[in-house]
């Protein structure tokens, strides 16, 4: 298994799209979580402006860092997962890897571990960049460097990683199921940005849809990030963040969904012919 992790990690680390996705995520984070709120606060004097400025200060580090995971970060993680699994079929490397002899589930396990490791790096970088950006804002505004407790930061990192891992696993399952990247990414993004939104919008009118939405990846990811401190949409926070579900339940559902996606990918990998 360790051999497969090493092989998968090398592939992921050297793949340009991994760094492009990471770079895009960090650029979005800085712009939407720090630059935009700061400019808003700078050009206005109302209560919204004060709230926007407060969100960029060190005390809000955890909430600000994880706020984007429920939608944009999750979408990028889904793309990363779909690329990792789907490309193997497009390039014909599935057969090359499997004929080396590590075993089908061993190869998949290596891929999931490498993705998990990459997401750890992504979360750490997110928090580091957020901390740097909020320190700069605090410095400019002469605000206190009131960092959240270490335990909150660690919890935030773990929760954020879980949300990203769930989306990445969804991408792996889609990439494996469709044996490619285009369809997997297309379906994944349509689900994240369109289908979940439509279900949420209709949930107030139809009771069964309200039950359905409580099992959705995005809703639970958003509820988990809210529980970690992210501001909800109603509070002017990032899209997808809500308090519909409690933090504990959302954590459980996210973990179950992640495991479910991994099982689907594993079953497909094990059961299907490589043609």
């Amino acid at each position: 298994m360790l051999a497969s992790v090493g092989a998968e990690w090398m592939k992921l680390r050297k793949r340009p799209s991994t760094w492009v996705l990471g770079g895009v995520w960090l650029a979005m984070l800085v712009f939407f979580a720090y630059v935009l709120p700061y400019l808003t606060a700078d050009s206005d004097t109302g209560p919204e402006a004060a709230g926007a400025l407060a969100s960029t200060l060190p005390a809000e580090l955890v909430g600000n860092a994880v706020a984007g995971y429920a939608l944009f970060g999750g979408a990028l993680a889904l793309i990363l997962g779909a690329l990792s699994a789907g490309s193997e079929y497009g390039w014909g490397t599935v057969k090359t890897a499997l004929t080396q002899g590590p075993g089908r589930l061993n190869v998949l396990g290596g891929m999931l571990a490498a993705l998990g490791l990459a997401l750890v790096g992504m979360v750490v970088l997110t928090f580091a960049v957020s901390a740097g950006a909020s320190a700069i804002v605090a410095s400019i505004e002469s605000a206190p460097y009131a960092w959240p407790p270490v335990a909150d930061i660690v919890t935030g990192m773990a929760g954020g990683w879980l949300v990203l891992a769930m989306f990445a696993l969804a991408g792996v399952a889609l990439g494996t199921a469709t044996r490619g990247t285009s369809m997997a990414i297309g379906l994944g993004l349509v689900w994240v940005f369109v289908v979940e939104g439509l279900i949420r919008a209709s949930a107030s009118a139809l009771e069964f849809l309200d039950t359905v939405q409580r099992a959705l990846p995005g809703v639970n990811g958003g509820s988990l990030t809210a529980a970690l401190g992210a501001r909800t949409v109603e509070e002017g926070g990032a899209p997808g963040v809500s308090t519909l579900i409690s933090g504990g339940q959302a954590t459980l559902v996210v973990a179950v969904l992640a495991a479910g996606f991994a099982l689907v990918a594993g079953w497909l990998q094990r059961a299907r012919d490589v043609v």
Binding site: W91, K95, T99
Partner: protein, 329 residues
Amino acid sequence: MTATAALDRAANTSPATTEPVLVARGLTKRYGDVLAVDAVDLEVHPGEVYGFLGPNGAGKTTTMRMLLGLIRPTAGTATVLGHRPGSPQALAEVGALVESPGFYPYLSGHDNLRVLARYSGTPSYRIGAVLELVDLAGRAGDRFSTYSLGMKQRLGVAAALLKNPRLLILDEPTNGLDPAGMAEMRELVRRLGEEGRAVLLSSHLLGEVQQVCDRIGIIAGGRIVTESTVSELRGQADLVVVAEPLSQAHQVIAGLVGDGAVAQQGDALRCQVPAQQVAEVNRALVSAGIDVTELRREEKSLEEVFLNLTGSGTTTGSEAANEGGSHVG
């Protein structure tokens, strides 16, 4: 390819054995109503280069994929080096190139082999050795996406050799190679057999199979229609005699080998005469005062044999023409 480069085979060469390294019995694959492979029986022995010959869509690649565990058979059994196809134990000593070589386009040739070496637990010193063997060492640092078709194919062969395998399963390994590269590849395959490795080689080039393989299995419509050595398949060479008068020559030769072994074909006689009796025929014709203008042995081509067995059409492409072989399919 550097012909002088050698694999360090001695490290894991097993004692010579007559036990087959690959056995398939009744191997069958059905896709819905389509029977892709129909009860294929196959044995490949150590040191043997086994040619798998058949038209496109005959079932060669599907059979190879089943032997590598990539496809599960609908029926039948197979063992590879005594293990279940696709099991880590079997694949530990099997090198494979199936259809087009699949590699990561953003990685260099060297890094692609590093990835594969990690999967298989192969020591990294093997990478340089196999790159040298396929003459890719000079371009090993370049991205795979920049390789020509021939270079990609050679990297595929390098990957197949990476584990220093006892059994090689090579699906059309000369695809995309120029004539010189094809000749070098044939030489390499022959050498691998001489080193004691077993090679299962599929090809659509009759000439290639004829030159490289010890035994041939001809597959058509998913079934192995015959299996034999090249010389057995081609049968005994006929003796073609052009002489004057032809009717008298017919009588003389028939007196030596029997009337049933002589047939007139245009202005020549086609005779089934053992090689050791050709000189005797010549002497008898000359002694009888017959003018012999041509006396030659003519073997059936593998292409004729193939066409007779499969009823398949062949085309002779420029590539095949360059190589003196026929392109099946």
